[in-house]
Assembly symmetry: C2
Homo-oligomer: 420 residues x 2
């Protein structure tokens, strides 16, 4: 019998009725003889309400107290699901992060999981009890205080539990039925990917796909946890339970690239709208100038993504263009303003009307010309590329936001991803 970790997000547990639906998914696995640990998020809207209270209490606040408040959302869901499971005859108990314990770092609000002591839970799973575990949180053991993992952290909790329990699979139930080649709202011909490699999923997650949280994919990759993305809104009884060694072709399995037999060159097209472009005009072109610009930004914990440098016609100056998260733009401009004396520049221009389009695929490693095809295709559509960044398995370009949908659709067709 397999150990199965099932994770349900906020929309899947938004009401008590939806929690009943979740319980039926769990019962299906239990009835098939599986040992089940469930990780739950807060009912949708609850975390936002709690964060709202904290901000109303004080804009600047103790992250430990923020955690104490915000972690309660998942605690409510876990208790309710345990009750519903018991009511349909499935033995269950809820576990809060500190009870297991899930030990975390002291970085309250964005803590990292350091260790999961899964022994007691494993024992109870073997006795047929379902463990319902609060996502998004653990305990910082030194201070004996609740610590949260940051927004979306429940995915990471689920993968960490799968590692601790040596689970057959970590099933992430969401409101979509898998990972698609791109956003189906933009490209109706987008296809579900039956399998996707950890590396690709990682790029997709960090490039704008909201399906899985980046850190959960990293953790799954390191520990080789097979992670599956599924919809909780499919009728629970219409799905097959997990069997050891066999995963049905539903949802998307995130797995090792070796498991993926027919590798596409490009697996997906991602886009991120929350980018902002900053251009510093007429900076003196001399050694050390980049450090003088990006040093203060790093000190302010502002993440710089793409960077492009142009020489101005006079040959002595340079224009420096880079991107940051749109939400960081006001802080970025402030930092640059206060460092103007030290950097020495003529002016700063910025725009949030940009979008980053990325083409992702493990197959790029062994196929040349993927980037050239992309640039040619965009150019033919009259789309101007503002910046480029690449990795071994992805190419990202920054373009004017007005062209976002056109670019995504063109590239989806170009790389043969359209459904027949």
């Amino acid at each position: 019998m397999a150990v199965v970790v099932m994770k349900f997000g906020g929309t899947s547990v938004a009401t008590v009725d939806r929690i009943r639906n979740v319980a039926r998914h769990v019962k299906r696995e239990v009835d098939a003889g599986n040992r089940v640990a469930v990780v739950v998020s807060a009912m949708s809207g609850v975390t936002n309400q709690l964060v709202g209270y904290v901000r109303e209490a004080s804009v600047l606040h103790d992250a430990r107290e923020y955690d104490a408040v915000v972690a309660t959302g998942e605690q409510v869901t876990a208790g309710l699901l345990a009750i519903v499971l018991q009511s349909i005859g499935v033995p269950a108990r809820s576990w809060q992060g500190w009870q297991i314990p899930i030990k975390t770092s002291a970085a309250h609000g964005s803590a990292r999981i350091l260790d999961v002591l899964g022994g007691e839970i494993r024992k109870r799973l073997d006795q047929g009890e379902v463990a319902v575990i609060t996502g998004f949180q653990g305990i910082e053991p030194h201070g004996n205080r609740v610590a949260t993992l940051g927004r979306g952290g429940s995915d990471t909790s689920a993968v960490a539990m799968a590692v601790a329990l040596d689970a057959e699979v970590c099933d992430i139930y969401t409101d979509v039925d898998g990972v698609y080649t791109t956003d189906p709202r933009i490209v109706p011909k987008a296809k579900r990917l039956p399998k996707v490699s950890y590396e690709e999923m990682l790029e997709m997650a960090s490039l704008g796909s909201k399906v899985l949280q980046t850190r959960s994919v990293e953790l799954a990759m390191v520990h080789k946890v097979r992670t599956r993305v599924l919809s909780s809104f499919v009728a629970p009884e219409a799905m097959q339970p997990v069997r050891a060694g066999v995963l049905e072709d539903i949802g998307t399995i995130v797995c090792d690239e070796d498991e993926i037999v027919e590798q596409q060159v490009v697996s997906g097209i991602a886009y991120a709208k929350d980018e902002a472009k900053v251009t510093i005009l007429k900076v003196e072109d001399k050694p050390g100038i980049a450090a003088r610009i990006f040093g203060p930004l790093a000190d302010a914990s502002i993440n710089v993504d793409m960077i492009v440098q142009n020489i101005t016609p006079d040959g002595k100056h340079t224009d420096m263009t880079f991107t940051v998260q749109a939400s960081e733009l006001p802080r970025t401009l402030e930092v640059l303003k206060s460092a103007k004396q030290d950097i020495g520049y003529f002016d700063v221009k910025s725009s949030a009307d940009v979008v980053k389009i990325s083409v992702i695929g493990i197959g790029m490693r062994s196929h040349a010309g993927v980037a050239a095809m992309m640039f040619k295709s965009l150019s033919e559509k009259g789309i101007n590329i503002l910046a480029i960044s690449t990795s071994e398995i992805k190419i990202s370009v920054l373009i004017d936001a007005a062209y976002a949908e056109l670019a995504v659709r063109s590239l989806h067709t170009l790389y043969g991803l359209d459904a027949a």
Copy 2:
């Protein structure tokens, strides 16, 4: 410098703005050099919402899971108050029951506090940090699970913390400014009692006064904790801070009777509307009949209060009248129905249109005739007494609900309680 425990109920922390007001009360005490532990309830309405979720999940539910869900309300308030205190320059941290720990019995949903390990908190109070403690909950150490004390349990948490910290006073802040001779909504001439003895407060609490929870008064009485009832809606800066050995004449101090110099014969008139009367007609009048009636009720955990037995004219039968909580009436009637064969009776009649009026006073111990005055006065007003019960310091009568206000007002005047 005194150790002060301050407890704030749900209406006092109903919004973040009210929590700011609470923080000003706390700051007043801190600024005066006092060491302060604060016990908080859930924001008003929150506990009801959580209980509603649990009931929606399943009418029959695991009390341990109920506790895990319902205890989150206080956890939110504690974190928020700690944040607000910090924001006005008062060092503070929140403590959940399991972190202290407050050890409780395993009776989830109505657990009793067994022990409070206040050492770490006491150390931090001495360092000038305010402890913000979740009311209503602790940890059942054997199972490592959160246990709640039952509705109104935060008063008990506060008194238990006062015991553990050897506090000068346990100040219970509510939405009324003290304990009154009776409900001022019924008798506008009702007076605030500057002091009331533990015994009297205990009778008042169990006879319908909502000001303090019964168990908190018992605990305060056993450990001689001076407990004060105050309004949180008075401007915080208009009140005097606690000084060792001196308590201002505001609110009501619940204390040992020795401290009360001018003892009244009667201190207050209480009334309870949540009573129901049950009459079992024509029961055979023979030994053991009471056991046959009240045994099954006790087995069903139904609390019987007043009992009256009349002999019917034939001399062989008896009518048995007793009262139960109105909410228990349907269950009571069911139990009697299924025991009809065994008891042997003609019929059962019941009514919830009754009210229990109680006259309470330590002074009754040394004054005869208090009851006689009461019966005569009610009779003169044409009020029929349906049942009577007495203790050393109280007399209760059951009357038709229609006469409730008339009876309370008459007795208030009769015993000289009207304000000048």
